[in-house]
Symmetry: C2
Amino acid sequence: MSEIRQDPVVGRWVIVATDRARRPNEFANSVAAPPEPETDPFAEGNERLTPPEIQAVRAPGSRANGPGWKARVVPNRFPVLRIEGALEKEGEGLYDRISGTGAHEVVIETPVRGQELEDLPLDHIAAVIGLWRARMTDLLKDARFRYLLVFKNRGWQAGATLSHSHSQIIALPVTPMAVKQKLAGAQAYYERKERNIFADILRQELKDGRRIVYQNGAFVAFCPYAARFPFEICVMPRRQCADFYRIGDQELLPFADALKACLLRLRVGLDRPQYNVILHTAPARHPKRDYWSTLDQDFRWHLEITPRLTQIAGFEMGTGFYVNPVMPEEAAQFLKEVEA
Amino acid sequence: MSEIRQDPVVGRWVIVATDRARRPNEFANSVAAPPEPETDPFAEGNERLTPPEIQAVRAPGSRANGPGWKARVVPNRFPVLRIEGALEKEGEGLYDRISGTGAHEVVIETPVRGQELEDLPLDHIAAVIGLWRARMTDLLKDARFRYLLVFKNRGWQAGATLSHSHSQIIALPVTPMAVKQKLAGAQAYYERKERNIFADILRQELKDGRRIVYQNGAFVAFCPYAARFPFEICVMPRRQCADFYRIGDQELLPFADALKACLLRLRVGLDRPQYNVILHTAPARHPKRDYWSTLDQDFRWHLEITPRLTQIAGFEMGTGFYVNPVMPEEAAQFLKEVEA
């Protein structure tokens, strides 16, 4: 059973998830070998190796937990949080903890081992994005959950423990500090200027042009002005919307197109880098609470792609500063010119 | 020339340090080979391979930039910030940047290649700590600098690019957000309770005992209640003092003793893990500003040792949450029993 502990000084949350614990001598920093075809739990035909599926995009007539699928959502076999049980909050002297209640799901993006998200046709990527949307819409019905994070780890240094292409969804019983800071920044800007900061960023990026990597009718991809990582990319919708789960049907293919264009450019230009994909969206807003009631004006959902070419070292950990050795303008120029 | 850019939404700072830039195809994630004896810039006899030394602990009669030293401080050859030039602040539309003014120094901890900090005798470690103190005391005279960070990266995943044992000092022209959050948390606690939160933490840890790793007359080492990393250790002075640079002469040997005890236990127990060491201290407080005027009551300097056995993945990056697979109580018990 896991528990969520809060740092008493800075308020940062930590999930202590001992179900995933290894013995001290099992922390060797070795790269996990790609699974053999017969033991890959995410390959078609091996559906028995995962917990029963929650949802899937399937061929007509195929049966749940059997072959015939394009993408599948299953519970994480080693979840950091568990869906069972009431939320319990408890103090211990000056410390605070919460029971490890939440959800942790895996979106298997393709039945084919070795195929990456960016290899898939646009309608298949759009189907994966549709599964993110569907799972978020469903999980938001659970009033215990305050924040839902969709993310993807590619490569072991980016945190992936399985090489078969997948993304993950975690539902949290508290709103993370990093999310609150982002929302507070956006709200403060709106209060001062009565303008949405993401709209202003997009306007300035399009006018300037030097940091644009790719754009289509509904999305713009650019290297952020204060990018933390070399070749970091932000994908921003042109349409104002705080919640990713309210992405329109007509936006799914353009979003898939922008995502594919960025991932292909990174792969070709940087020789298959390890990376993370992080979806930033507004927290759950239950009608009975009026937290974040202005987010529809203040905030806009967006996606970050962060190649992991540099290490997070003592300086970053001690200050929250990042050191980026590549000017975002040069990174964007390089990625724009990659033939992908 | 580097510049410091601020994220317009969350206020996070990023140093874009292009002097350290590599071409896109040079970001291969390869482990740097340990240098050969004749090319190790930090080895005795190779002093000509570093910039001229700023300070050193030397045998009587030995000459600067020649052999005969125990520990040496030199400017970083690839600094993230440069000492030259006035601080310039500039806007660009809604973005903000500062010139890359600061200092970046390297403390070479031993003349002997392959020797680690924890291998050194206590008086040698105390001499290294004395150099940290001396450099901070000196850099604090420069009114451009707001925050000084002492840190150490051990192993390439922890950010080390040279394997010869060393630590680093960076002087920053702004107070980092992560530091401000820590100070604000400590101040809020004091306002509420009129007690120092670090004193309260120490009292609770000593009374509870389950998370204590090591202690002597002046320092206590424990695994924090909400440790982000497995086997993370905090070393806290028993004496209330906000600024590390005001550590007393009589505290140098006990601090060296606690640091050595922790590093040896990690090395033996976890088979030479990669790790970071981070010194948390109060920011520069110039007489003309009254920022942080209550820190002497609120804050206490301390040191964090964070083994890097797990990866920082999309979930951590998207939320600021951490996932720790080992209960801090079990980590402390394990480390306490290591025969080191």
